[in-house]
Symmetry: C2
Subunit: 161 residues, 2 copies
DNA sequence: GTCAGTGCAAACTTTTTGCAACTAC
DNA sequence: GTAGTTGCAAAAAGTTTGCACTGAC
């Protein structure tokens, strides 16, 4: 993921961050820049706070967990980050310059697959709703990945289901 | 919600529960029956474990929280319950005899609106995916309810956004 | 110089686990 | 009688809060 992102994308992300911070009267700190670099440098599209922290340490940049949590909120508001609740696990995902997609989550092993589907997602975004102003649509398909589905079938057979 | 459910629905739910338990070699306990009654007797479609527990106490039936958590898992597997992650809040929802719908969640106040949309949901259910066997589709629209959207606009103006 | 932002540790919330007692089958 | 279930309490996991210190503006 990370390494595929162009310099141009990263410059744009930093520009958007700074614009947002200035607009809100917030400060441009090295921590915030490093967190954004880490987010857009993750190897996997979805990651936990824990994994983001590990990435920052790998970049030789230590931040307090509390700082991470604080800034996740801010970055979502800035439109640079999505938050997902995959099963009971909270994950984040870089959102700038990412194609609309939805998520398939395996109930057994927790595996998450991203699926692009522009038509469906844009259809959703267009949906007008009385009494609600939507800005993001999240679609989650729950089920079992091929591997876990097979394991499950084997187990069911044993139980004479 | 609760009180609108017919006796026939409740009988059916209990039948499905017992069938599932027998099929799995699990036991039909008074706790399990009471939990299902509570779930299908909630006033609001979405509820937390806390609220479900309160409902059980109102029914003069005390169960340990651990028992509730255990049985939520089982009831989801039995197809009688959905679990949602609305923002950071875990909610449950009765699923038997409930029309497919999706959820609008206010980022500010946490309000959740159910929206029926059979066409969209069935379209999703039909989607064939390589390497994944989906059984449930969850759609969440995040945004702001009319009230919070207005409050937010006022605040933004103050910040000279 | 001021105050937002940070690190750290403690607190809090939510969920899980271990174990003895109980009960559905 | 024998497991599967339950209640209880302790533990674990994830997130938030309070406060003193730092550094962006």
């Amino acid at each position: 993921m990370a390494n595929e992102r162009t310099n141009q994308t990263m410059e744009q992300v930093h520009r958007l961050l700074e614009e947002y911070l200035h607009r809100r009267g917030l400060r441009v700190t090295p921590e915030r820049k490093a967190i954004v670099d880490a987010i857009y440098g993750m190897d996997e599209p979805h990651f936990t706070i824990e994994q983001l922290n590990a990435r920052l340490e790998a970049m030789h940049f230590r931040v307090a967990l509390a700082t991470l949590y604080n800034n996740m909120e801010m970055l979502m508001d800035a439109g640079l980050l999505w938050r997902h609740y995959f099963g009971p696990v909270t994950c984040y995902e870089a959102s700038y310059d990412v194609k609309p997609h939805f998520h398939c989550i395996c109930r057994e092993c927790g595996m998450v697959m991203n699926l692009s589907n522009d038509r469906l997602t844009s259809r959703l975004a267009e949906t007008r709703i009385r009494g609600f102003k939507a800005d993001d649509a999240y679609i989650y398909l729950y089920g079992f990945c091929t591997k876990c589905a097979a394991a499950r079938r084997r187990r069911s057979k044993k139980l004479k289901k």
